[in-house]
């Protein structure tokens, strides 16, 4: 598909179009450039976070990988992220299937209730969880952090999976039922394979949400539960050094990896489901 098929009046690049392209390019550079800035900084041989760097070295990565604090934070981030992903994905997927299946009044209300954590300002969620988790003795624990992150990320799983469920042709289910499959078998055979890509996307999103999360961690994590963002924040406040930049680079690389995985899943899914989406109006 080329530009000309969309807007027929403009057959070739006009001045307007050139302006449009340059504005877009500038904005795309604006989006990406600040992220790129931390790469040279992380390789600085100097002590300060300034550009241009006096020289290049791996010393800040060495510092990251030899620092107890950063390693603990990395470990915590992965433990919390993985547990959050597992719980949020399982509960979110089951809940989405339930909401898809159910024919009861108040479904919209239940859905709104379940997606409430997504629209609540994070700071409000954070203090609510801080008060409650410390009241039940989960204040400075990884369990508390996992619970909090699960609550924050579960709406994404729920909505992603629900959206993909709703795009299915319910006739498929009827067909499978008419062939003698009970509802559970129908789901198992028909629906689950079809929603797997969206479950995977939801899982990635849950992980990314947990891995990114700082505000709740700011309230409920004691130093033993510091995650990478929390440790980075402490670093900015307490010991500003290029180690922060190297941590940032590692986080960016992981995010890009997650993004790539997600894109691959999406592209695959698009290929697989293309026939069915063509069938449904």
């Amino acid at each position: 598909m080329t530009a000309s098929t969309i807007l027929p009046a403009r057959q070739r690049p006009t001045t307007g179009r050139l302006i449009l392209y340059s504005v877009t390019s500038v904005l795309l550079v604006f989006l990406v450039a600040p992220i790129l800035v931390v790469f040279p900084l992380s390789l600085s041989s100097g002590e300060l976070l300034v550009l241009p760097t006096p020289g290049y070295s791996w010393r800040w990565y060495a510092d990251f990988f030899s620092s107890q604090r950063w390693l603990l934070a990395t470990y915590n981030s992965f433990v919390v992220g993985i547990l959050t992903t597992l719980i949020a994905t399982s509960l979110g997927t089951l809940g989405a299937i339930g909401l898809y299946l159910g024919r009861f009044r108040g479904k919209a209300f239940v859905l709104a209730l379940l997606s409430l954590p997504m629209v609540t300002p994070v700071i409000v969620t954070a203090i609510a969880l801080y008060f409650s988790l410390s009241a039940v003795g989960l204040g400075s624990t990884l369990t508390g952090l996992v619970l909090a992150h699960t609550v924050l990320s579960v709406p994404y799983v729920l909505l992603t999976v629900l959206a993909s469920l709703q795009s299915f042709d319910p006739n498929l289910l009827r067909a499978s039922a008419s062939l003698g499959a009970n509802p559970i078998q129908s789901f198992y055979r028909v629906v689950l394979p079809l929603i797997t890509p969206s479950v995977a996307t939801g899982a990635l999103f849950a992980f990314a949400t947990s891995f990114d999360e700082l505000i709740v961690a700011l309230f409920i994590a004691s130093p033993d539960q510091f995650t990478l963002p929390r440790q980075m924040y402490a670093g900015i406040r307490e010991f500003l050094s290029p180690t922060i930049a190297s941590a940032a680079v590692l986080i960016i690389l992981l995010s890009v990896l997650l993004l790539m995985v997600n894109e691959t899943i999406r592209k695959r899914a698009a290929r697989h489901t293309l026939p069915s989406t063509h069938r449904t109006p």
Binding site: M1, A3, T5, I6, L7, A9, L20, V23, T24, L27, L28, L31, I35, V37, V38, L41, L49, V50, L51, I87, L91, G92, G95, G98, L99, L101, G102, F104, V110, L113, L114, P121, V122, I123, V124, T125, I127, A128, L129, F131, L133, A135, L147, T150, V151, V154, T160, P183, I184, F205, F211, D212, L214, I215, L218, F219, P229, I236, V256, L259
Partner: protein
């Protein structure tokens, strides 16, 4: 009668619902309750509370009430429990903490009436208004925290009056919070439009690259991006180095710890949230519409205004709403790159929770923030057509 289907549905939803109820709805409710809860004084000073309930509010309470207050406070202090009472009363009116502590210290030397001793020590002990305050604080609920979060308080006669000028700050902060959020939302919507449009008309290869450039920041940690701005905007950072070397400025410009920095970093963080839904809406617009309009002879700008813009409005609305809701709760970005005059309400919720340990007011501010955001979102939901269609994250 529940069908088998609904039974299964309920069983599938139950664990999720339980999780959200237990670890979100209940904490949220408890927080809202904390904003009106006033159980400290009745719990720690039960006898005084009971005596004050009998006091008619006219004249001064009995000698017994004075004695009971001092005795219960002393006992609380020995058990290291007096703090909440003192803080609660001091929040009602500054200076009560020291007045009570002074009375407590002196009372051990009293030989005669406690009432007279205290009054001799500080005439405020003979002020019915003081006792009115104490009586008002004997729970079980108080509107104090909610009133304070909109710069109001209860006057001596129980009427609602504005707080002293030097303490009135919260209305200003709410206004600032919504102002910053609206400006950021507006900038994001305006900037997202050309980007999303270009991406929707470019050849697929270029679109893919463009989308990647939007998705990379979208997936990158907000803290990482804010940190990047923190470094870039420094006085001796790359932007100033560039400006000076190009002789655009003589002296480095102060950019960090300013409102400008807050806007810049927030727009950077939130722009992808505006671009992505808009892009998916634009991508879904069939070229036929525009072709039809063109064949009817409508000029370009008119086609855009009358057909394309309305068609893309749901995308604009979905993106703007997302940006707005996220902006309202922003804490990290203003805290790192903003100055003291650029902090939003979140900063104060955190301050009262962590530093000043006044959880009542923190809870009240949080409840108000949530309520106001909810109202604004509800208005948008009702006013903007098709908002629901595009509201899913890509």
């Amino acid at each position: 009668m529940m069908s088998r289907r609904n039974l299964l549905a309920a069983a599938l939803i139950a664990p999720l619902l339980l999780l959200v109820l237990v670890s979100f709805i209940v904490p949220l409710g408890a927080t809202l309750y904390r904003a009106v809860d006033d159980a400290e004084i009745p719990t720690i000073l039960p006898q005084t509370t009971a005596l004050l309930k009998q006091w008619d509010g006219k004249g001064l309470p009995s000698e017994q009430t004075y004695q009971s207050l001092i005795a219960e406070l002393r006992e609380a202090q020995e058990q290291q429990k007096a703090g909440p009472v003192l803080n609660r009363l001091n929040f009602e009116e500054t200076g009560l903490r020291s007045m009570l502590l002074q009375g407590l210290r002196a009372s051990s030397r009293f030989t005669g009436s406690t009432k007279e001793g205290l009054i001799a020590l500080n005439p405020r002990w003979a002020d019915p208004h003081f006792w009115g305050l104490v009586k008002r604080s004997t729970g079980p609920w108080t509107p104090l925290y909610f009133l304070r979060s909109v710069d109001l308080k209860l006057g001596p006669d129980g009427a609602v009056v504005p707080t002293a000028e030097e303490e009135a700050v919260f209305v200003k902060l709410f206004v600032r919070t919504f102002e910053i959020s609206l400006v950021v939302t507006l900038i994001c919507a305006v900037l997202a439009y050309p980007v999303a449009y270009t991406l929707s008309i470019l050849p697929q290869v270029w679109t893919n690259i463009g989308i990647m450039l939007v998705l990379i920041p979208f997936w990158t940690s907000i803290l990482v991006r804010t940190t990047a701005w923190f470094i870039i905007l420094q006085r001796e950072g790359p932007i100033n180095a560039l400006l000076v070397s190009l002789h655009l400025v003589d002296q480095p410009v102060t950019m960090i710890f300013t409102r400008f920095a807050v806007y810049l970093a927030m727009v950077h963080v939130l722009l992808p949230f505006a671009i992505l839904p808009l892009y998916s809406v634009m991508k879904g617009i069939k070229p036929d519409y525009m072709r039809a309009a063109a064949s009817l002879g409508a000029p370009g700008w008119r086609r855009f205004l009358r057909i394309y813009l309305p068609l893309t409005m749901p995308g604009v609305a979905a993106g703007a709403l997302m940006v707005f809701m996220l902006s309202v709760g922003f804490y990290i970005t203003p805290a790192l790159v903003g100055g003291s005059g650029d902090q939003m309400i979140s900063y104060f919720i955190a301050f009262f929770t962590n530093t000043s340990v006044n959880w009542g007011i923190a809870a009240a501010l949080a409840a108000l923030l949530m309520g106001m955001t909810g109202i604004l979102v509800a208005i948008a939901w009702l006013l903007v057509p098709g908002f629901r269609a595009g509201g899913v994250r890509v």
